[in-house]
Amino acid sequence: MSIKETAQAVMKKAVQIAPDALMPGGAPDPLIRQKHGLIGTPVSRLDGPQKVSGTARFAAEFPMEGMLFATLKYSTIPKGKITNLDIAAAAAAPGVVLVMTHHNAPRMKPAPAFMSSAKAAGGDDLPIMQDAEIHWNGQPVAVVLAETQEQADYAKTLIGVTYETEPAVTAFEVAKADSEPGVFQGEPLLLEIGDADASLAAAPHKVDAVYRTPRHSHNPIELHAATVGWDGDHLLVHDASQCVTHTAWSLAEVFGIAEEQVHVTSLFVGGGFGSKTLWQHQTLAAAASKLAERPVRLMLSREGVYRIVGGRTLTEQRMAIGAQGDGRFDALIQTGVVAMGRHNNMPEPFILPARSAYQAGSFRLDVEAAKMDMVANTFMRAPGESVGTFALESAVDELADNLGMDPIELRIRNEPEKDPTTGAPFSSRHIVEAYRAGAEKFGWAARKAKPGTHREGEWLIGMGCATATYPYYRMPGGAARITLTADGRANVKIAAHEMGMGTSTTQTMVTADRLGLAMECVSVDYGDSHFPGVVLAGGSQQTASIGASVAAAYRKLITELLKLAGKDSPLHGLDADEVIGRDGHLCKSDELERRESYVSLMARIGREELTAEASAPPPLEFTHWSMHSHGAMFCEVRVNAITGETRVSRFLGSFDCGRILNPKTAASQFRGGIIMGLGLALMEETQFDERNGRVMNPSLAEYHVPVHIDVPEIDVIWTDIPDPHAPMGAHGVGEIGITGVGAAVANAVYNAMGRRVRDLPITLDKTLPELGLVP
């Protein structure tokens, strides 16, 4: 262990053993107790009318005076050097203003790679069009700027590139031979407790199999885009972003200017899922704009997203469980290899769920990364959990089958009392309730335990279930500003993001409840790097981060307000912790009649507005407690006995994610996650040609995601039990929905036809051979 690692370990231990009261969340957020506010009521998204009427402006819709349109030309080899770039015809084509290549691009530093520092946003840290080197198949080699998009796109086709190829590693089997230990968020992805191999060997019952998940490409509806312009040495970027502050800081590093000189806005984002960070296109647009001295819009084509934005990488996981006859786990082993780019650090952490899902006598969890010459792989909705739960929860189902136990009962038998690998107490874990409620509502009792025994006509019908799990995170850097005005209204500014999840709506509700104001009296501004806070919309942490930031700003605001209000206020003598907001008033929390309205308070202090800005406390709570969201996923499939086609006919997700703030937007998040999970289970797969590292299906026609008819009625229910240690008692709900779905489907397929598919996606060529010869 290095000195840094040792220090980290000591800190962690100290946080774990510290008294609860010293932790953020040690005293429950007062909003948890409040029962009559907006929280928990279904509120439609505030930006809905703008979105359906087309007035919501997305990154590629900002006009700028004199703007040019950009297009990218991509490399066709995985590794080597550009030996010749013939741009003469392109440069001479109608409307073309600039062709930028590594010969004329301005000198720039690489973007700091994600997680390399607090505000780093780069997908990788490769030089961006600075030299002739090619690092992956699809790397941008030229930018064309023209007066219209069509002119730019046409001119691009006239560029000729010759390469000198160098040996590349584009086959997983080759890369695997050289894999190295995975390190995620500064911690090795390796955990050993006891002698898992020996325990497995000795266990009377076991499963031990290899599960595979393929590469996935990001496909948000809104293509990645940036509209950029320079004003002297100040850069304005209208981006499609889930990390405006990170992007501003990182672009400043790239161009060698101060962070304040870069202004990134991103008011509306048409889906992020982990992909809307800093890839080469924003930098290239800004660089080309600088050269051309005109604003530039660069929207990637769908193909462009597949070529230069990383996706989820493939995994190969050995999953083994050893158990006693009563089902108790003696050994839990999940080890394997993932493919990873050479210039990023994202070893898909598929072991995360197994760290806290089950009690077991011994553990061995390990992720190795096999470096390949490919576009940097990245985060995609529940990275780690979505594919890790496929192996883990399939294996649990296999074991249940071996033991002749109901898979739900087997899970409950191994339910831990405290975190099985850290020993930390759970902050809130009601997974058993979620299973019971889900099973009841889904009609699990009707499942035939013996696989392959339920048939209707051509269709074999099966049911499966699986555990969903996703951690509660809150990242450092959260901060917010609240302004209270004389008319009793409040405005929040925070550099957070609305990617369609409903964040702006939900946070307006929460702020209104916290202040005791009507929803109409509260506005929340976000999506601007000049606002306070470093708030990544990722890791399902935004809700907690914003909540904790606004709570801190609120506390500071009220402290100031009470101080200024002075002796004549009925609230005189109370501090911020002794009052709550209610009906436009501040009230003594245990004596609600003792109160004064905001309007009156503001008049009393003689101010038009009062502003407070504060940072959220350091996020220690999820080290002190083991904090996770949970769910129980239930699926019914129909496998066609003739063709092997699998169709999902029913799905239910039963969630335990703390208090649900807005049932309407939360239900959409859960359903959206489940739909994406159905894609993962049944059809999504990036065709990466291992001969040359080229993605062969860069289009929504050939890269299959579920269409409407693939999606059945999806029921979602939740426990709604607040986590006493989380702001508002809530957990993020953006990612958990996709977890467990792959296994729930695979388990249902097994139940339907009696064969296991351990290799996603479950396409008919994998089920067909198991159906036996022609009927």
């Binding site: 086709t157 051509e458 008819i709 008919l764 067909l768």
Partner: protein, 328 residues
């Protein structure tokens, strides 16, 4: 996309005069051609819009049905005569693409849509004999799950993607075409070619020939017919395997049968061997299986599409059994 001129054809003569110029292309609904132009796989310098030519669907005295080439796919599938007399055609069309695309797509364009081989589409980065003759074929050693198992060549293993054409092949449809030298008809089964050494030549049309109509001969037993499409998702995916079939039974004996397969070859595959072997046989699963095995005896699957052979057999047997069950 390259720049091009655009003109609407006033009538067939006008269309053909414009369409026979070098680098001219007919434009139907544009749902395939415009995509290919965007990808620069097609680079016409003139588009002759023929979507305003005849789209009439006419029932003729000899019992045949004449469908104008500009008829939209949706209009054909919804037409009463098609639905009642040739249900396999209606079902084939409805199994294809999406509602929006079918509303745009024309019969002429559907016939001449090009393969979905992803190496064909990858203009910049892959080798393809169809796109650039003599270049080589990256699909043969690459991803070939959706490729051909019948009639392929060392030059090209692509499939024809149309659903509609499979039904037309089963129905012995005739394609009416007009060129500078006048008009003629071609059997739909002779319209498309196997790849051989020239996968770039996909049809037996002469340069500039315009498709004006498709004729469906009378086939009373097609009233009971089926189109079954097997695919990776429930809609909006091309066929892995599809089967169009009509069966005529006489006391449990196969009197006549028409069957074509999609997703297996460079053209819609009319299963003549199967048909010949089934005629006069009892309509049983065993004879269906024996016949389809004969049809597929020459199948040469690629590394990723071995499943297609088994899948085709199962689907054919199921379709024939369904038809036989319906009838008996």
């Amino acid at each position: 996309m390259n720049s091009f001129t655009y003109a609407r054809a006033a009538d067939v003569i006008d269309a053909v005069q414009q369409g026979t110029r070098v680098h001219a292309k007919y434009l139907g609904g544009g749902t395939n051609l415009v995509d290919l132009m965007r990808e620069t796989l097609e680079q016409p310098s003139a588009l002759v819009d023929v979507s305003g030519l005849s789209s009439d669907i006419t029932e003729r005295e000899d019992g045949s049905l004449l469908i104008g080439a500009a008829a939209r796919n949706t209009a054909v599938a919804e037409h009463r005569a098609v639905r009642t007399r040739y249900p396999l055609l209606a079902r084939a069309i409805l199994a294809g693409a999406s509602g929006q695309i079918r509303n745009m797509a024309t019969v002429g364009g559907n016939l001449l849509q090009r393969t979905r081989c992803t190496y064909f589409y990858d203009n910049d980065g892959s080798r393809c004999n169809k796109r650039t003759p003599g270049q080589g074929c990256d699909a043969i050693q690459g991803f070939n799950r959706i490729h051909a198992i019948l009639g392929a060549s060392p030059s090209c293993v692509a499939t024809h993607p149309s659903d509609m054409c499979v039904a037309l092949a089963a129905l012995d449809a005739l394609v009416h075409v007009t060129g500078l030298d006048g008009s003629r008809t071609i059997a739909v089964v002779d319209l498309h070619r196997l790849p051989g050494d020239h996968p770039e030549i996909e049809t037996n049309l002469r340069p500039g020939e315009l498709i004006t109509a498709v004729e469906l001969p009378a086939l009373p037993f097609a009233q009971r017919s089926v189109y079954r499409k097997v695919r990776d998702r429930a809609s909006y995916a091309f066929a892995l395997i599809s089967v169009a079939a009509a069966l005529d039974l006489d006391h449990g004996i196969v009197k006549d049968v028409r069957l074509a397969l999609g997703g297996v070859a460079h053209k819609p595959w009319r299963a003549l061997k199967l048909e010949a072997s089934l005629k006069g046989q009892p309509a049983t699963t065993q004879s269906f299986l024996a016949a389809v095995e004969e049809e597929l005896a020459d199948a040469t699957p690629l590394p990723h599409n071995k499943f297609k052979v088994e899948l085709a057999k199962r689907t054919v047997v199921a379709v024939l059994a369904e038809l036989a069950g319906d009838i008996s």
